[in-house]
C-alpha cells in the first residue's frame, strides 16, 4: 500500500496533487507540499544511508536544516547534486533521489564489517594513521573516499544559471516563525524597508509543527492575516525558500534564494538560485531552536528521531512515521509529541529520566492513556531491518548507572528529547557573545558585537514559550525599526494557548546503559554526521586534547556540513560531565559560516564564462584577429603573440619575424603600454624624485628612459618619458604596471607632497601606439608623414608632432629592439587606420607585423630588461648592470638612501648577466637553476636562475641566448657554469655580457 504512514487528515500538504518520485530506483508517491523526507517517511522508508565511518544504517532524525543523516544525491548528470538535505528538499513530480553512502550496500547490515571498521576508526584516526609516510596518503585517501561516500560531483558543466542581488534593508528579519513574523509586522508598520527571510517554502515556523491557537483560532489564521498585511506593505519583501548563509561585518549578510530547486531540473527558465547581498541597518534574528538528541546506547538506529521532528511530520505533513512510539525525554516539551501521536490512535509510552514530570504534562499524558515510566532510560535499541524494540531500565540515584532487569518495549519509532538549543549560528558568526542558561542547560545570545547591531527574539533568544516568542518578536521589530530611524510601536496579540515548556530539565549528558561507555558493542552517538561517539570525546580527554577546540578537531565533532547543529552542546555536556565541570567552564567553539552549504553557482552568479573577467583589446585587435594572430593574456589585455603563416608553429613564426625586423622592417602594436599625462609647474621636480636619473633639464621635443624604484631601492617599473612642452610630460610605463605606477605617484602627491603643483591623468587608452622597427623604418614612415625624418635633426630619443597617414600624431624616436625605430602615437580611434596605412606603405620592404614573443627576443638580443621578468623585486639598478642611469649628483630620489644599506652594497648579490650554452641549439627553460656543483640528486647549491631565454636568428647565424641572474655574476664573465634541467640532465654555459647584438648601439642612432 502506498503512503501507509500518511495520516487520514491534517498537514499542510495538498492531497489532491499526487507526485511520483523515486528513491534508489524504487517508485514512490507523495503529495505537493511534502519534503523528500516527509514523502519517504509517509512510505515507511526510514533507512536512507550509512554512517560516515562505521557504515551503520542511518535514518531521519530531524525535520529541518539540523538533519545530520539524510544527505542524498539528487537527479542525474548534468543536474546531479550531492549532499542534498532531504528534510529541506521539496518534493516535485519525477524527483530522482539516491542514497549516497551505502557501502557495502544500503540494506545489507554486516555487523562483522561494522565492528572491524569500528576498531580501525577511533577518535583521532586520521591524525594517528597519517603520521605514516606522506606517500601512503594517496592510498588511504582512495579508501576513505570510497568508504565515506560523500556523494558525486556533476561531471558536465552546470546548465543552470545563477544571479546576485544587492539590497539595503532598514530591518532584516531572519526566520519566518512566530517571532520573525511579529518582528516584521512591527517594523513594517513603521514604514521601514523590511526583508523577511524564511528558509522553507512556507512562513509559520514552529506554528506549522503544532496545534497552537492564537486569539481563539488556529494559528494558521494569524499567519495568513500577518502575511496578508505584510504583503500589502510596499517596503516589505518576503523571501521564502531563502537561507541566510553568512553574517559578516557591518551587518553585511548573504542569503541564498532557491528559485528553481523545488522544480524538476531543466523546467525553470529563470535562475536556479539567487544570492542576496544584504547590508542591513538592523538585523533581527528569529532563527528558532533545535531539539537536542539524548545520547543513549545505539541512539543512531533508523526510527530513533528527535521528539519534535515527529510532531512536525505529523502536523506539517500529515505523516506519523510509526505506529508504536516510545518518547524518551529529560524534560516536559516532548510530552506534546506523545500526546499528539496518541491522538491519532498510535500506541505511545513515555520514558522519562526524571523522578517526576511537570504536573500539567503528566496529567495531560495520563489523561490520554499514555504510560509514563519515570526515573528510567533506554539502554538498548533492537534494530533488524527496522526498529523492533527498546530496553528500558531504572536509573540509579545519581543517574550514572542503571539497575534491575531491562524491560523490553516493542516499538517502531522512538522520539528523544534532551532539551532545546537556541540556533546561535548567525549570532555567533556576527561575533556576538553568549550567555549560559542554567535551567535550560544551554547557551543563548549575549552581548552583540558593536559593528553588527542586531537583536535576537523568540526561541533563538531562549524564549521557548509561544506567547514569549510573539512578544519578543513584536518588541524586537519595533526596536530595530526605531534604531533604524523610524517611529515604531510594538504590535501584540492576545490569548495564546500555553505551550508545554521544558519544565524541570534533568541534564544527563551520557545516558548510561548496561555496559560502561565504550565497552561492548553499543555506541552512544552525539555527532551523527561525522560519526563521533561519547566514548571518542572521553578518549580525546584521556589523550590530552583537553581544550574544547582541540577536542573538536580530534573527534571531528561539529565539523561536518551541519556545523554541529545537533552535536555541539551535547559534546560540551559530555566533556563537562567527564571532567566534573560546568559547561561554561569547558568553553564553547565558534560556529562558522556558511549556515548551510552554498553552491558554487550561487557564489559565482553571472561572473562566469565570458563574464568571468573583463578583457581589454587594442584598436588594432580586430586586424590581428583577421590576420590569424595568436593572442596571449597580459594583465587584462589581449596582446598578439605572433602572426603565424600557413604551416608555421610559434617557433618558426617568431624566428621569421625576428630575422625580418633586423634585415628590413617590422611593425608592432604597443598600444597597451601604460601612459600617464603629467602637467604642472612641479612636473619636472616630480619626475626627478620618481626616477633615478636627472630630469630637470629635459627640453620639449626630447625623450628620456627612466627606472623607478620603491623605497627599498628595488626596481619596480621602467619606461620612456617625453617632454611635450614646458611643464607637460608624457610618461610610459610597462603594460602590467600602468595602474600601479599611477597609484604610486598619486600616493606621494596626495600624502607626502600635497603642496606640489602637478597633476597626473591616465591616458593609456587614449593613444594607439604603432612601433616601426628596422633598417627600413625611416623609409616606411617617410612615405606617410610630413615630419622631417632627417637623422641629424630628428635624432634618437627625440619626438616630433605631425601628420601620419593624415592623422595628427606624436612620433617618438625610441627603440626597444636596438634598431632604428619610430613609435607612432595617434588617437585610439585612428589606430587601425594608421596601422593599415603603415602595413601598406611597408609592402615594398616586406614589412612584417610581429607580436610580443618576437618583441621579447629582439629586446633580449640587446640585453634590455623586462621589469618583472629579469627583475623580481629584489634587484637594484646596480644588480641589473644599470648603474649608468643612477644619478650620483641628485641629493634625493625615491629609493636612493636604500642603496647605501649594507645588504645592498655587499658582495655576492645576484647580478644580471648573459649566458651562451655550449650547445647553441639548447634553449634553456626560463627558471632553470644555475648550480655550484653537479651532484647525482638534489639538494645542490643554487647560484642563480635563467630569467629570459630564446632561440635567436640574429646571433652567430642562429643560436640560443639567455639572460640570467647569477651570484657575483659581474665577476664571473667568461666562466663556465652548470645548469640542471627538470629532467635531471645538466647543461653547461658561458657567462657573457648580455648585449648580444650591436654592442656599440649604432643601429638605433642610424
Amino acid at each position: 500500500m502506498s503512503q501507509k504512514f500518511r495520516l487520514p487528515a491534517g498537514g499542510r500538504v495538498n492531497r489532491s496533487k499526487l507526485l511520483n518520485f523515486s528513491f534508489d530506483g524504487q517508485q514512490l508517491q507523495g503529495y505537493e507540499g511534502d519534503t523528500l523526507a516527509s514523502a519517504l517517511l509517509a512510505n515507511g522508508v526510514h533507512l536512507i544511508g550509512r554512517s560516515f565511518k562505521y557504515h551503520r544504517p542511518r535514518g531521519f532524525m530531524a525535520a529541518g536544516p539540523e538533519e545530520p543523516n539524510a544527505l542524498m544525491q539528487l537527479e542525474k548528470d548534468p543536474y546531479t547534486q550531492p549532499n542534498t538535505r532531504a528534510t529541506l528538499q521539496e518534493l516535485y513530480e519525477d524527483l530522482e533521489a539516491d542514497s549516497q553512502n551505502r557501502w557495502p550496500s544500503l540494506k545489507l547490515d554486516i555487523s562483522a564489517v561494522n565492528s572491524l571498521v569500528a576498531r580501525a576508526l577511533p577518535a583521532g584516526f586520521y591524525y594517528k594513521t597519517f603520521m605514516a609516510p606522506a606517500k601512503m596518503w594517496m592510498t588511504y585517501e582512495k579508501i576513505i573516499r570510497k568508504a565515506a561516500g560523500l556523494g558525486v560531483s556533476p561531471k558536465a558543466p552546470d546548465p543552470d544559471w545563477y544571479d546576485h542581488r544587492h539590497e539595503y534593508p532598514d530591518v532584516l528579519v531572519v526566520g519566518g516563525g512566530p517571532a520573525g513574523l511579529a518582528a516584521a509586522l512591527s517594523a513594517g508598520r513603521s514604514g521601514a524597508r523590511v526583508i523577511l527571510v524564511e528558509q522553507t517554502q512556507e512562513f509559520g515556523g514552529s506554528l506549522l509543527s503544532d496545534n497552537a491557537e492564537i486569539e481563539g483560532a488556529p494559528a494558521q489564521q494569524w499567519i495568513d492575516a500577518t502575511l496578508a498585511e505584510l504583503q500589502s506593505m510596499p517596503e516589505v519583501q518576503l523571501l521564502n525558500r531563502t537561507t541566510l548563509t553568512h553574517y559578516l561585518d557591518y551587518n553585511y549578510l548573504t542569503a541564498a534564494q532557491h528559485l528553481g530547486d523545488h522544480m524538476k531540473p531543466g523546467t525553470s527558465k529563470g535562475p536556479r538560485q539567487c544570492l542576496w547581498k544584504l547590508r542591513a541597518k538592523r538585523v533581527v534574528l528569529a532563527t528558532g531552536a533545535y531539539e537536542r538528541p539524548l545520547v543513549f546506547a545505539d541512539n543512531d538506529r533508523p526510527g530513533v528521531m528527535m521528539a519534535n521532528a515527529i510532531r512536525t511530520f505529523q502536523h506539517r505533513y500529515g505523516v506519523l512515521p510509526g505506529r508504536e512510539l516510545v518518547v524518551f525525554t529529560n524534560n516536559d516539551s516532548a510530552y506534546s509529541t506523545a500526546i499528539d501521536a496518541a491522538g491519532t490512535g498510535a500506541s505511545v509510552t513515555i520514558v522519562d529520566c526524571r523522578k517526576a514530570a511537570g504536573d500539567i504534562a503528566q496529567s495531560a499524558a495520563s489523561g490520554v492513556g499514555i504510560e509514563i515510566i519515570l526515573n528510567s532510560a533506554i539502554t538498548g535499541v533492537k534494530y533488524s531491518s527496522g526498529l523492533k524494540s527498546v530496553d528500558v531500565m531504572s536509573l540509579n540515584a545519581d543517574g550514572t548507572g542503571v539497575q534491575g532487569q531491562p524491560r523490553v518495549i516493542n516499538c517502531d519509532l522512538v522520539g528523544s528529547s534532551g532539551g532545546w538549543n537556541p540556533v546561535l549560528n548567525l549570532h555567533s558568526q556576527s561575533k556576538g557573545k553568549l550567555r549560559w542558561m542554567e535551567a535550560e542547560q544551554t547557551y543563548a545570545p549575549g552581548v552583540t558585537a558593536s559593528i553588527n547591531p542586531s537583536l535576537s527574539a523568540g526561541a533563538c533568544n531562549g524564549a521557548f514559550d509561544l506567547a514569549d516568542c510573539l512578544d519578543e518578536g513584536f518588541a524586537a521589530g519595533a526596536k530595530a525599526a526605531t534604531e533604524a530611524g523610524f517611529e515604531a510601536i510594538a504590535g501584540s496579540v492576545n490569548a495564546v494557548t500555553p505551550t508545554l515548556g521544558v519544565g524541570e530539565l534533568r541534564a544527563l549528558w551520557v545516558v548510561p546503559c548496561d555496559h560502561p561507555l565504550g565497552q561492548g558493542k553499543k555506541k552512544h552517538f552525539h555527532e551523527f554526521q561525522n560519526d563521533a561517539t561519547a566514548a571518542d570525546l572521553l578518549l580525546a580527554q584521556r589523550e590530552g586534547y583537553v581544550s574544547v577546540e582541540h577536542t573538536k578537531r580530534y573527534t571531528t565533532t561539529g565539523m561536518a556540513n551541519d556545523q554541529g547543529k545537533t552535536s555541539n552542546i551535547n559534546a560540551l555536556g559530555v566533556v563537562a560531565q567527564a571532567r566534573g565541570e560546568s559547561i561554561p567552564q569547558v568553553g564553547i567553539t565558534t560556529f562558522r559560516p556558511p549556515f548551510e552549504p552554498l553552491t558554487f553557482g550561487a557564489i559565482v552568479g553571472q561572473n562566469c564564462k565570458d563574464l568571468f573577467h573583463m578583457v581589454r583589446k587594442t584598436p588594432m585587435h580586430s586586424w590581428a584577429e583577421e590576420q590569424g594572430g595568436v593572442f596571449e593574456d597580459v594583465g587584462d589585455w589581449k596582446r598578439t603573440r605572433y602572426y603565424p603563416r600557413a604551416g608555421e608553429d610559434m617557433h618558426a613564426a617568431v624566428y621569421r619575424e625576428c630575422a625580418q625586423v633586423r634585415q628590413s622592417v617590422g611593425m608592432f602594436d604597443g598600444s597597451t603600454l601604460g601612459k600617464i599625462d603629467i602637467q604642472g609647474p612641479d612636473a619636472a621636480w616630480l619626475l626627478n624624485m620618481l626616477y633615478t636619473n636627472a630630469w630637470l633639464k629635459l627640453a620639449p621635443g626630447k625623450c628620456r628612459y627612466g627606472l623607478m624604484l620603491n623605497e627599498h631601492g628595488m626596481v619596480f617599473d621602467d619606461g620612456v618619458t617625453a617632454c611635450i612642452a614646458e611643464n607637460h610630460y608624457h610618461m610610459t610605463t610597462t603594460t602590467g604596471g600602468a595602474a600601479r605606477v599611477l597609484g604610486w605617484i598619486e600616493e606621494w602627491l596626495q600624502t607626502e607632497w600635497p603642496e606640489k603643483k602637478v597633476w597626473c591623468t591616465s591616458v593609456s587608452e587614449q593613444w594607439a601606439v604603432i612601433a616601426i622597427n628596422g633598417p627600413k623604418a625611416r623609409e616606411v614612415l617617410a612615405s606617410l608623414t610630413d615630419i622631417d625624418l632627417d637623422a641629424e635633426s630628428f635624432k634618437f630619443m627625440d619626438w616630433r608632432a605631425g601628420k601620419v597617414a593624415g592623422v595628427d600624431a606624436r612620433v617618438y624616436r625610441i627603440s626597444f629592439t636596438g634598431e632604428c625605430a619610430y613609435e607612432i602615437n595617434v588617437p585610439a580611434r585612428y589606430g587601425r587606420h594608421v596601422w593599415e596605412q603603415v602595413h601598406a606603405a611597408g609592402q615594398p620592404h616586406d614589412i612584417v607585423p610581429y607580436g610580443t614573443e618576437t618583441m621579447h627576443v629582439l629586446r633580449a638580443e640587446k640585453g634590455f630588461i623586462i621589469v618583472g621578468q629579469d627583475s623580481d623585486g629584489t634587484m637594484t639598478p646596480h644588480d641589473l648592470a644599470m648603474d649608468w642611469i643612477v644619478s650620483k649628483a641628485k641629493p634625493d630620489f625615491l629609493g636612493k638612501r636604500s642603496h647605501a644599506r649594507a645588504d645592498i652594497t655587499r658582495e655576492g648579490r645576484k647580478q644580471l648577466i648573459g649566458l651562451l650554452t655550449d650547445d647553441p641549439q639548447v634553449v634553456l627553460p626560463e627558471g632553470t637553476h644555475i648550480i655550484a656543483e653537479v651532484k647525482p640528486a638534489p639538494p645542490m647549491k643554487m647560484l642563480g636562475h635563467v630569467t629570459s631565454s630564446y632561440m635567436s636568428p640574429n646571433v652567430d647565424g642562429g643560436r640560443s641566448i639567455a639572460m640570467a641572474v647569477l651570484k657575483d655574476g659581474f665577476n664571473r664573465m667568461g666562466e663556465s657554469v652548470d645548469l640542471v634541467l627538470l629532467d635531471g640532465t645538466h647543461v653547461t654555459a658561458k657567462v657573457v655580457d648580455p648585449v648580444f647584438v650591436d654592442k656599440e648601439g649604432l643601429r638605433s642612432r642610424s
Binding site: 557591518y250 547590508r279 561575533k431 558585537a449 638612501r897
Partner: protein, 95 residues
C-alpha cells in the same frame, strides 16, 4: 565586509577601498644623514597593535584619493576618518 566613510564621497563598501597600513609615517627629509637603522625603521617597520590603529586607505574604485582612518583592530570598529594632512583625532583609550 566593512563600511568606510570616505571624507570626499561618503560611506561605501570595503570592496571599493584598499588599506595601506600604518599612517603618519613622514618620509625623512635628510635621508643622506640617516644611519641604516633609522632608515630601516622608516622603510620596513610598522606597528601591529591589538586595538586602536591609525591607518591609511585609498578609495580606489571611487575618487581614488587617500585618507586616514582610526580602526580598532580587535573589533574592526572605525572611530574616525580624516583627510591626509589633518591632525590625527584623539579617540578613546586603547581597548
Amino acid at each position: 565586509m566593512l563600511i568606510l566613510d570616505c571624507p570626499w564621497c561618503g560611506t561605501r563598501d570595503q570592496s571599493e577601498f584598499h588599506c595601506h597600513g600604518e599612517a603618519h609615517i613622514a618620509r625623512p627629509t635628510d635621508t643622506e644623514k640617516m644611519d641604516d637603522k633609522a632608515w630601516g625603521e622608516y622603510v620596513f617597520f610598522r606597528t601591529n597593535p591589538k586595538g586602536i590603529h591609525y591607518e591609511r586607505w585609498t578609495h580606489d574604485h571611487g575618487c581614488k584619493r587617500w585618507f586616514n582612518a582610526v580602526r580598532n583592530t580587535a573589533t574592526d570598529e572605525f572611530l574616525a576618518f580624516y583627510k591626509p594632512g589633518e591632525k590625527a583625532p584623539a579617540v578613546g583609550s586603547d581597548q
